[in-house]
Amino acid sequence: MSDTTGPKMVTLTIEGRTAVVPEGTSIIEAAKTVGVLIPHYCYHPGLPVAGVCRMCLVDVERFPKLAPACATTVMEGQVVHVHTEKAREARTGVLEFLLINHPLDCPVCDQAGECELQDYTFQEGRAESRYEEPKRFNPVEDFGGDVMYVPNRCILCTRCVRFMGEVAEDPVLNVSERGDRAFIGKAEGHDLTNVWAGNVVDLCPVGALLSKDFLNKARAWELDRSASICTGCSQGCNITVETRDNTVVRLKPRSNPAVNEYFMCEVGRLDYRWINRRDRLDQPQVRGDGGVLHVADWEAALDAAAAALRGRRVHVLASANASNEALFLAGELMRTSGGRGVFRVALGDEAPLPGVPDLSLRAERAANGTGARVLGYETLSTTPTIAADDAVLVLDDSLEGDVPDALLEAIARGAVIVHVGTTLPARIAPLLQVALPITNHTEEEGTFTNLRGRVQRFLQSRTAPGLARPSWYVLADLTERVGVTSGFGTPAEVFTAISSVHPAFSELTYAQLALRGLPILDATARGLDAPTTAGVA
């Protein structure tokens, strides 16, 4: 319901700070707005409130008892204290209860270092245990999919149960048994194979639900983290790429209310090994006398490529995972010469996450198909006509998988093939004149445009192999040598050029995109912002 006056605002005091929040806001969320983190376990902004861990108890003036900050809505003039002795004692009590049956096996636990049980115990827990009784034991369970359950570490916050029940609407998990015998149960005969199930591992505040894929792979404090965008489909889920020693070991969702809330699917999450592949094209190569590809330095290779392309009609076969910046620069070659740009994109089944509007594993399994279309590329439905004296620029299309013979023949008909890619595709290796090594999206920065027309930045998370250079950089250099662009020194400058040339991008600046992106201007006109019915609650 849109109300021009907006929601009624409530003013309250939290830890001496004045918060002004819309009516109906919980104390825990109101506290966040003034920089106060109220310790909590069961509460998660992406899930229905359970109010069971009792960790977020706060002292509200004139309330007879401590109030759970997650389940108490703000009231005008309310005065909330998070760190009174009474509130802190209550939380210390909760921490003690949560630890009595916990194995305290942090040294072998994957969650260590990013564990909220550790964090809050360090913050306000007891230094020693008063528990002298035997600990309750339950064996580890394989929950299927990518999820392993370690019940001894479980604090029964029920985030996982609520996610599967209320968000994924696939109620496979439950709380079984009662009292301290309780554990997270799995419906008989069902596994956590739902494509969204892996989110329960992220949601788990402790080391009870673990990713089998990440098991024992790295300690949390060894990881470097960078903001990025998932390339698994056209949804454009915001993610964090986590690397250890320059190797991507894990992808995690990064919150963006406009795209993926707090979640990502298993298809995107588990498809990262290709990023680390070792058989990369890592040196420029030029076909020399005798028809043999040989390693060249960048200057020679770029000159050779420019010479081959100059004066010819250039067609581009682009990857749908190429950045807007790379697509734009390659597009300048085809635009100025009258060539065509096409891209291939794999298709799969849609898999919406029912509890989040317009969040789905999309049929189009690439990050930037929309960007490519907006920038003048077409989906490869008919093979472009390539004349004998045309040039073909292959922009990181691996030419693997289902490639029509007609396309390969058409490419082969071209006079010149220049490959700008992360690998050297076996299918066209014998045909190409120049191969220029570029970085993949985790090794450079740039932008993608998701299926709703949202332009989002990704940042560099690992260093490039060998002599590979960022795609925008290579293409800026190449197009400048061909004589169709000039003066690009950063991806931001390329983006500025895009927004000055393409009306859709006008008024967007690279800096404004920040880490959550912005929609292109005429998204509505292009029918991009209309959610599919499947995603709407």
């Binding site: 861990c53 209860f97 230094a127 029964l156």
Partner: protein, 445 residues
Amino acid sequence: MGYPNPSHGRETPVLSKYFGDPEARTLAGWRARGGYESLEKALGMDPVEIQTMVKDSGLRGRGGAGFPTGIKWSFMRPDGKTHYLCCNADESEPGTFKDREIMRWTPHGLVEGVALGAHAIYAETAYIYIRGEFTEPIARVTAAVEEAYAAGILGANAMGTGRRLDVHVHRGAGAYICGEETALMNSLEGRRGNPRIKPPFPAVAGLFGQPTTINNVETLTAVPYIIKHGADWYQGLGRDDNPKSRGTKLFSVCGNISRPGNYEVTMGFPFGEFLNELCGGALPGREIKAVIPGGSSVPILTREEAEGALMDYEGMVAAGTMLGSGGVIVFDDKQDMVKQIARLARFYAHESCAQCSQCREGTAWTTRILERIAAGDGHARDFDTLLSIGENMSGKTICVLSDSCATPVASGLKKFRHEFEAKLGPDRSRGVVPVMLTTNRSAVA
């Protein structure tokens, strides 16, 4: 009557008048005893009129909390929403078996009260949620409901008034926590019987998210008598110096007592006389040591405290305990209080729904310590730990199960500490056990 014992002259049998009378179980028998006259009268009354009458009678919830019934009903206003009445017949409080006898002997009395209550809160549908183990009461109430439907008392045209009144009997699956009102509603809806966070209160969003009133069996069964004899009559029952507790109350008496059973007395009856005269006092050659007066969740009284108490809401509070459900558990000098209290704690540990951290872990921890002490391996520091755990378990959870476990432990430890001390064994302290490998205390110093 002190069923199954003969009625004692000092009892005031209202609800229990027909306990032991098989004819009262049938519709014909119930009608012959004046049954359903109140319902018929009430269906001709405006709900607000009934609410006011019940308010004026001073009737308070007999399930344990003692909330004024008329006021609870007055929260229900015609608002276009579907209203529900739930009858809490999950009687699971250890030591309590009064509702069981109401359902066994006067099921029509309950059905009448439920139908009347539904009308009073603008509901067409009522549910009687009966504890799963109550096989006979379930059979009796189900039979009574069927008879009432067949006779047109319930159904689309209840007693010819053109009004619809439906009563459904639901059998619980045997969880103590399902006697907690919101857990009962979850259970009725087919969910796990976990208590809900309040607010919203049931009167706003209860069963199936609709405005709901939930009343105990004894409360609802008392209402037809108030309609029949008037608010003033009910108001007239009880001790003169306490206007807050009126009417009669059923007490279930069990444990080490000469005549266990159900007794109905007026509010404010002297507890000492109740125990020693009506219930016949201790078993021959024994002495009463302790009494839990209101179901296992309330503080334990010593014999002296109990004998000086008055049996109403305020009287029990004055004695340092609560009237609760009226389940009186008597312990004599042969009983080991440590073992008894450990057994109570075990019950709560078993029945904790496992939602709240304090309850799930605290009830089990309390039990383990108590059982260790009972086994002769306790240490004095355990007392402090028990009290501290109890403190952390009280007033901090969604429902009061956690408090209910802590309460008898704290009172038992306070009043029978000598028995705990007598059980202590050699100190097997393992010393300080580190929580983590390193702990940064500077953050909390």
